[in-house]
Amino acid sequence: MSEDIAIKVRGLTTAYGTHVVHDKLDLDVKRGEILGVIGPSGTGKSVLLRAIVGLKRPETGTVEVFDRNVTDLEGDDLREVQNLWGIMFQDGALFSNLTVRENVMVPMREHTDLPEPLMKQLADQKLRMSGLDDSAGPKFPSDLSGGMRKRAALARALALDPPILFLDEPTAGLDPITAAGFDTLVRELQSALSLTVFLVTHDVDTLVATCDRIAVLGRKKVIATGPIEELRRNDDPWIQDYFCGPRGRAAQAGES
């Protein structure tokens, strides 16, 4: 049944110095699903993302993407697998010396041989797809609002139509209405492009609105995975607090 598993993490241990962040962690992301990853701040959600995409070298363990081992790749092999995913970093990480459109063109320049004018048009298309106006293209990231920057970062992540999308707290710091718009956008793009999405978030509303399955990180491992209804019945105290605390209940009320 490995056929429909997009990302398979096995026995992953990561550490910074003596500080172990993950200890023999296992995780599966199925093809075509949106997996929400939650957990208290500092449990290593961002580090897990970095370990999967090869930005953080694990101490032990393997990461397989579409049945291909991507741990410890270098050079051309790494470049090749980088085509498989787009990443939207926690704070956008747009290049501040490039315009928004040029930001989206960076991956195209690096990985394809498209002619320049077509690249520009495609970049504009991606920006429209992420819900930005054509007028945003020539602006610099510093001239955009937080929400627009996140959309621009999403457009850059989608530049090469990767089958997998990593989002690190895409709605953090956005107002609820913009955040809801972003949730819808992710959901729509996911179904239009049949993406597999790895979504790190703290936002219960985002989880309810977008995720097919949720993985809870804690105590250096994945302590539970499953659809949201299943997790509500889990008796881990943190999960109970998370879903049945005041904010979790509000989200549940909004859902029904």
């Binding site: 501040s96 990985h111 394809t112 498209l114 429209r128 797809m129 990231p141 139509d161 239009a192 049949s194």
Partner: protein
């Protein structure tokens, strides 16, 4: 390995029919997009896209097919034999069409355009000058304000800037002046020896260093060293919105950032100039001693009796002005930095260029001024 994308174009009455095959993805469409753009589409009133042989399709592929359809009149794409996903992608591409096709936004390089750019540059230069002068006024007001109320002065900042841009610049200023003094003496020695008047090297070194080189060298070193540091420090604070935070907390960036720097430069530039003059004359005396056998004591005696002391005061009088210019331009460009790394770099470059330019121009004005005064 992806299949190369290919297509066949046929007409069927007035309707075009595009049969596509292979993989149409962002990695493969590079060549074919140009080919497709070169196709003649006159006489088409709509396009049918046959996707029976189509391999993989992504948004980039859908985009160029849709763009082709736009050109083929009507702008409607009718996919035939297409998978659900391909249909959805083509539909999405059609929904996201740009409002207008700006394929040709070339830059103009005509004569009119040259004139326009020249005009803009001139206006920009005038604006810059006016704004710098108004910033000068603003700073002087703020400084006067502080002088009347010394308790509001940021003493720590003042002393720290004095150390960073004054004390730490002493070695480089001394070193360079010494060498320039040596060079002036050498040139004087070789030129004057033709007339057998090598003793005038003393006057040459004395007047050149006291009146011009001491202060100009100091100012240029400060423009390169301190001015750019001011711009970078304040600019980095602007980039991280620290200056805005300061303002909201009731601190005036003028008082906190600009005034201490201006005062520090006002105090330190004359000190540095004095050091430059001492070392410059020292360099001259050193060469005179080695190359011309003019004993340092003789050198000093001649300097005292034949080089009027006014030269020294002329040189020193320019020092605070140059110091203020460096501080002002550095701070102003720093405060003008926007949010991007790019603008920080631009501002730093601009501030050094403007400072050097102003120093030379002001020095020329001083020369005319003192000439008229007969000093």
């Amino acid at each position: 390995m992806p299949d190369r994308p290919e297509y066949e174009l046929s007409t069927d009455a007035s309707r075009g029919r595009l049969s596509v095959s292979g993989d149409w993805t962002v990695h493969t469409i590079g060549k074919i997009s140009e080919q497709l753009a070169a196709e003649d589409t006159s006489g088409f009133e709509g396009l049918e896209v046959d996707c029976a042989q189509l391999g993989r399709l992504d948004t980039a592929g859908a985009f160029i097919i849709d763009r082709f359809a736009c050109r083929s009149g009507g702008g409607t794409v009718k996919p035939v034999n297409a998978s659900e996903q391909a249909t959805a992608l083509l539909k999405q591409a059609a929904e996201l069409r740009p409002e207008r096709d700006d394929e040709q936004n070339k830059k103009e390089f005509g004569v009119v355009d040259l004139l326009e750019r020249t005009g803009r540059a001139t206006m920009h230069f005038i604006d810059e000058t006016v704004e710098t002068l108004s910033f000068l006024g603003e700073t002087i007001m703020a400084m006067a304000h502080i002088v009347t109320r010394p308790s509001k002065m940021r003493w720590t900042a003042l002393v720290s800037v004095m150390e960073d841009s004054g004390l730490d610049a002493v070695p480089i200023v001394a070193f360079l002046s010494f060498f320039v003094g040596m060079v002036v003496a050498f040139i004087g020695a070789t030129t004057l020896s033709e007339f057998g008047a090598t003793i005038f090297t003393v006057e040459l070194v004395g007047i050149a260093i006291l009146r011009e080189f001491g202060v100009i060298l100091t100012a240029i070193i400060l423009a390169g060293r301190t001015n750019s540091a001011f711009t970078a420090q304040i600019g980095a604070m602007r980039m991280r919105q620290e200056v805005d935070a300061m303002t909201t907390l009731g601190l005036n960036p003028m008082d906190v950032l600009v005034v201490p720097r201006a005062f520090a430069m006002l105090i330190m530039t004359p000190v540095l100039t004095l050091i430059a003059i001492l070392f410059g004359v020292g360099g001259g005396a050193f060469v005179s001693w080695l190359a011309l056998d003019i004993n340092p004591t003789v050198f000093m005696n001649r300097l005292q009796s034949y080089v009027p002391i006014e030269n020294f005061w002329v040189g020193m009088s320019k020092a605070p002005v140059f110091g203020l210019v460096v501080a002002l331009i550095g701070c102003r460009q720093g405060l003008m930095v926007g949010g991007s790394v790019q603008s920080l770099g631009q501002s730093t470059t601009k501030s050094v260029v403007q400072a050097l330019f102003s120093i030379i121009v002001i020095d020329a004005l001083f020369a005319v001024f003192y000439l008229e005064l007969g000093i």
